[in-house]
């Protein structure tokens, strides 16, 4: 293990970029699991589905990030359908939704993953764009442009969602549904429709997140498994449903993973998110920025 201040600075810079990217891929889950309490373990699988659709559009000559934005309405509808199905089959029946709801989303993740393997094969897929493959020389440090693009989009996404949830009428309604569904019903609002809308937004955001995943690196169908750890780690660490907390936790994970990557090697990096997740669950399950 070689330790030097230079390497540490480089690890931290890369960690900040990586952390914002991680926050962006988790923010959909922060809404669906954090606010709506849906055990959405298929969130990373849906996101990787978004990466593959981005791959298809980008192959037609479109910019990958733009492709992600184009996919958002379709994914919104997909999200509404998934929630509707989940609600009718599990939430409405109430009893024992725990085991079955989880099994449902786990099965869904498997179906998406195997579906992708059957359609695209197990090979890694990449997209092409001007900012992929080159990097920005900043003194002694080299920062890949693809990370900068992901960083910018991630910040914009987090900011937009934070403002949406706190300033708009429907955003506040979503927060209200997370706090007290019964009270909302007494006010004459329909919590199911609000949750359906929120789940749609969360899924639409996953499409853009998926586009970022394929911009940052090559994508393969079974990649969602690693992101289960990263996304849930961030959402739990943030304290369920906190958007700014999601950004902060993303940074914590990104920097720790980057430091481990730099000083211990790539084979240890996947364990960081999962280890951190277990520690948080054991010590502080309400998260750092919990309500």
């Amino acid at each position: 293990m070689i330790f030097s201040l230079d390497l540490l600075t480089e690890a931290v810079i890369f960690g900040v970029l990586l952390g914002c990217f991680y926050a962006a891929v988790s923010i959909g889950l922060s809404v669906s699991f954090g606010l709506l309490d849906v055990p959405h373990v298929a969130h990373p699988a849906v996101m990787i589905l978004g990466s593959y659709f981005t791959y298809l559009l980008a192959n037609q000559g479109l910019d990958p990030i733009l492709s992600g934005v184009i996919l958002m309405p379709a994914f919104f509808v997909l999200g509404v359908l998934i929630y509707r199905f989940y609600y009718e089959s599990f939430e409405k029946r109430g009893s024992e939704a725990g085991v079955r709801g989880l099994a449902f989303f786990f099965g869904l993740a498997f179906i998406i993953e195997i579906g992708l393997i059957l359609t695209f094969g197990v090979d890694q897929r990449t997209v092409r764009a001007a900012y992929i493959g080159s990097s920005w020389e900043l003194g002694d440090y080299r920062i890949p442009y693809r990370m900068l693009v992901a960083f910018g989009v991630a910040l914009a996404l987090t900011l937009a969602l934070t403002i949406y949830l706190s300033k708009t009428f429907i955003g506040r309604a979503i927060k209200a549904v997370a706090q007290d569904q019964g009270a909302l019903r007494l006010m004459g609002a329909n919590p199911v429709r609000i949750k359906q809308w929120a789940f749609g937004i969360a899924t639409a955001v996953s499409a853009l997140a998926g586009a970022m995943v394929i911009v940052v690196g090559p994508v393969e169908p079974s990649m969602d498994r690693l992101y289960i750890g990263r996304t849930f780690c961030i959402v739990v660490l943030a304290g369920l449903g906190s958007m700014t907390g999601t950004l902060a936790s993303g940074l914590i994970l990104g920097i720790s993973e980057s430091i481990v990557l730099m000083f211990f090697g790539a084979s240890w990096a996947p364990a960081v998110a999962f280890g951190l997740l277990l520690v948080v669950l054991g010590i502080r399950p309400q998260g750092l920025f919990g309500r």
Partner: protein
């Protein structure tokens, strides 16, 4: 009594088949089916009785397998010792994970168990002694009499493990542990308020379940004469254990047997006739279909049919 007579009959029949001149492929397929039955049965002790979803089947299974490899490489320990040690390590892992996450809601336990799979896999990838990421070839000791081949002997071994697993699951279901776990599943708050020691019961169930999964994993390296992290910690074991229980029915120890038997036989047929990917896809689709349309599993369908034909 009736149960123990049927157990004896099944074991004698298994031995008979293992010594008969049946085609080797049968034992290959049967090993897979019996592994699935034992894993589903073990999963159901916590998942079915108490309603806590464990996605970490491969972690416990893998810990058992790697314990066996270490004992074999280090001391040349015989198979029964490997299996007992695998069970102990699986149980310890269950205790550790349970202590960290069983205090929380079920969803957190479920995610925690996914984390354990990847942590164990990373540890094994970085551990040179057991072969790291590339894996380790094992030289098997000569097969014990009266069996002709390894496939036949291990078929018998895994059958015994499966029978032990089912017997333990049956005992747990009818004992005070099972009653407590059912109370937890129906309403954890109500159980806690009426004096049920919920955390202790959940921990007991998690240790038994994890220990059994470890025991199932232990003979696997001998069976393949090879071990490697990626396939040992494959999520396919998760879906097999979960699918078997849910498709069969989670409220009775018979459910996972039926579910795993149906599911893994179907998987074997599909693997041979179509492909390995499609067989996992079918399990996923069946799992979702059952969870939505027949939440009580095959057992529930059967009970409904009995009631309507009366």
């Amino acid at each position: 009594m009736k149960y123990w007579i049927s157990v004896a009959v099944i074991l004698v029949l298994t031995l008979g088949v293992a010594l008969s001149p049946v085609n080797e492929y049968f034992f290959f397929a049967a090993y897979f089916v019996l592994t699935a039955i034992a894993l589903s049965t073990a999963w159901n002790i916590l998942g079915g009785y108490a309603g806590y979803v464990n996605f970490g089947t491969p972690a416990f299974f893998g810990v058992g397998a790697y314990t066996a490899v270490v004992l074999f490489k280090w001391l040349g320990a015989p198979l029964p010792v490997q299996i007992v040690a695998g069970a102990v390590m699986g149980g310890l892992l269950g205790f550790g994970v349970g202590l960290l996450t069983l205090r929380l809601r079920g969803i957190f336990f479920a995610i925690g168990t996914i984390a354990v799979i990847f942590i164990m896999e990373t540890l094994m990838i970085n551990w040179r002694y057991v072969g790291g990421a590339t894996g380790l070839q094992l030289v098997r000791p000569p097969v014990s009499v009266p069996f002709d081949t390894y496939a036949r002997m291990l078929f018998m071994v895994i059958a015994v493990v499966a029978v032990v697993a089912v017997s333990i699951a049956r005992y747990v279901q009818d004992s005070w542990i099972g009653r407590g776990l059912r109370a937890i599943r129906d309403s954890e708050e109500a159980a806690e308020c009426s004096g049920v020691p919920t955390l202790r019961l959940k921990l007991i169930a998690c240790v038994i379940s994890g220990g059994l999964m470890g025991a199932v994993g232990a003979p696997m390296p001998m069976y393949l004469s090879f071990i490697e992290p990626a396939s040992t910690f494959s999520l396919n074991y998760t879906i097999a254990a979960l699918g078997g229980s849910i498709i069969g029915g989670m409220s009775h120890w018979g459910g996972p047997i039926i579910g795993a038997l149906v599911l893994s036989t179907l998987q074997q047929i599909i693997t041979v006739t179509i492909s390995g990917e499609v067989n996992v896809l079918v399990v996923g689709v069946l799992l979702v279909l059952f969870v939505v349309l027949a939440p009580e599993g095959v057992l529930g369908l059967f009970k409904r049919w009995l009631r309507s034909s009366k």
